[in-house]
Symmetry: C2
Subunit: 426 residues, 2 copies
Amino acid sequence: MALTKSPYKGTRDFFPKQMRLRNFIFQKMAEVSEQFAYEPYDGPLLEEIDLYRAKSGDELINDQVYSFTDRGGREVAVRPEMTPTVARMVAQIHREVAKPIRWYAIPNLMRYEKPQRGRLREFWQYNADIFGAGQNGEVEIIQLAIAMMKSFGANSSQFEVLINDRRFVDAVFVDLIGLPADLTKKLYKLVDAKNKMDETKFSQEVSAITNDEKKSQTFQEFVSLKTITEIENFAQKYSVTDKTQPLLSILKRFEKLGLNEYVKFEPSIVRGLDYYTGIVFEIFDKHPDNRRAVAGGGAYANLLQIFNEQPLEGVGMGLGEVPLTEFLNSHGLAPDFSKPVLDFLVAHLDPEGEELTAEIASKLREKNKKVELFFGEAKVKKVFNYTDKKDVSYVVFVENGEIRVRDMKNRTETTTSLENLISGNI
Amino acid sequence: MALTKSPYKGTRDFFPKQMRLRNFIFQKMAEVSEQFAYEPYDGPLLEEIDLYRAKSGDELINDQVYSFTDRGGREVAVRPEMTPTVARMVAQIHREVAKPIRWYAIPNLMRYEKPQRGRLREFWQYNADIFGAGQNGEVEIIQLAIAMMKSFGANSSQFEVLINDRRFVDAVFVDLIGLPADLTKKLYKLVDAKNKMDETKFSQEVSAITNDEKKSQTFQEFVSLKTITEIENFAQKYSVTDKTQPLLSILKRFEKLGLNEYVKFEPSIVRGLDYYTGIVFEIFDKHPDNRRAVAGGGAYANLLQIFNEQPLEGVGMGLGEVPLTEFLNSHGLAPDFSKPVLDFLVAHLDPEGEELTAEIASKLREKNKKVELFFGEAKVKKVFNYTDKKDVSYVVFVENGEIRVRDMKNRTETTTSLENLISGNI
């Protein structure tokens, strides 16, 4: 039986067209990161499974992780996320280096998902983290996220950054509502799904979970908050002003930075099952057909604890290449990469020209030009049929020892010397 | 018990210094590939194990492959090499696209190795393949390999390309020596190890395997061949001129291309356990302390057969980032990436300057400058201590609403306006 030609379920083959888009995306990610002085890092594809168990508990591992036992009896996993790895690496060096530590990576990750739109088993995820910077780090990571989206040509009519603060969220969920742990968890999950339900259904479920009219009322007030003034009034009313202070301070900083067209408070962003302890945020696509999170992140206080290291506060974000590509497609922002781009295609029209075409190709490449050598004796028509499928600037024909250069844009043809061609005087 | 901070055995953490070197290497690889009109591709991290079984047999899988059964009962493997994946992908599209197909990739691969110098469990490997191009493809892939080595600053005193031809090798091993399959395999392994043994030992082992004086004599003659004339005489004597013709032709082409300072015939390069059917080659480090193969490749006729597709000839090469890095280090060719490179570091010396420093940073970043924002109120001395660990071109101080720019190379300081700073008139 013949082997299948398809890739493994939930993974992709990147043919050149798709790969050029991926390279373009990764290139922008790296470029913007470097503009913000973030330094590149990477870690191993496999980690010992205890690393994920310590951070996320057994649930993630049992449901989503590609894990197995190696030949030496070690339980290992293909990395499903980058945060445990970056924490492990920072734990090695944080005592010796100047803070803040600003790092980024674009690893391939695997999760055992049921493949669906926006979710695949193998995907790449941009990760940026800043360690040891407090609220300045929270502001910077969100600025970085906005700059990155803008670098793809996106504007404030196409995406927004929805923010919240776990200190405020926890004050409401734990101090004000105060339910047993399992019900609190249910409430986190419910609020996470809020934007996918109608309001009546949402109210009913809130009441069902709290089983208390006053608590439901408080909760409904919380999830309706929008403006800085509303948050301030709520905080006064329920005496949680100390818990809203960091959030209000950061919202005011974004106003000052002129970024309030992008950054909005959104009470339903809680990222409740994650390890965040400060600001949390998600980048949302505003397109009505693709109303979903493109990226997310937040601040955490205790990532190094699992290594018996002193606390080092950090802020991180993740931006998946799959949702980002969908975002770019939904707004027509993905450039067309269907054709390869070449500076020159070099062909010889008689056998005697072979050596000269080889020499031309070598010398142009030494000048860092992209040059395709057309193999074998060429016919003019055949060459043009061939170049139709490529984005070629110049076609060079060698015939009777003569060099003719065709400018494919202006459709002009000139005879030139090897010297002029190589030095760029075409 | 605290978790380990070390990476999984045989894998590496890439801290920024190492990652910048890796990025530099991959960037060069991509750049030279594009100069030769090779297009980028990538495939999945996991493949179904049958793909490797079909190509390489059970030996590789049992000894070296990270394999496991997924939750759906599929036997999968972390890719140990890229060739089966590229064959699978080309099998999907080769009937619809113009030939030749020129592709490159830089995947991460995993093999269950005992970690040692030049061998790790996780590594990246540059792969280039050309399909449907015959001997022109063989020449081009070797030219590409040479250009890539030269792009890292290497010259012909530092590396060489040793070539051979499987058609010639098989004629000698099978037609002239003609041993049973298991002994032929032993002979392949022996010749592979030739350069690691002394001559007497090698002769003894040849005699032991052939158990025939005349055959041993023929074999010794073969492994002593060096020049084109010697190959021609050998071919005449043993009536294998049709089997040496392609090799002699390609050696003469490299002479014409002026590449014979790099390319040499070497009878011990046989790559006998691989799937090659034409030219085979290895790039060797000439450094006496690192006398080993940096890269290898060859031509193959039948890679698509396992997919029930018609034969499509190809030529491929692999260049591992681990042996390449060792090569670069052994010749002092790896640039120093210990410090991050920044265009600007922007600091405010009084609290009132915070807004202006943020504005300066944002505007310089929009001009694609690499800018670090120094958080909090700065002291001049502290800033300079901090920039000592970085390669910073300019430090910008904001004080009393004034902007001072320090040129870190010329050690000059000037006062300027926001407008001049952003437009580059420093």
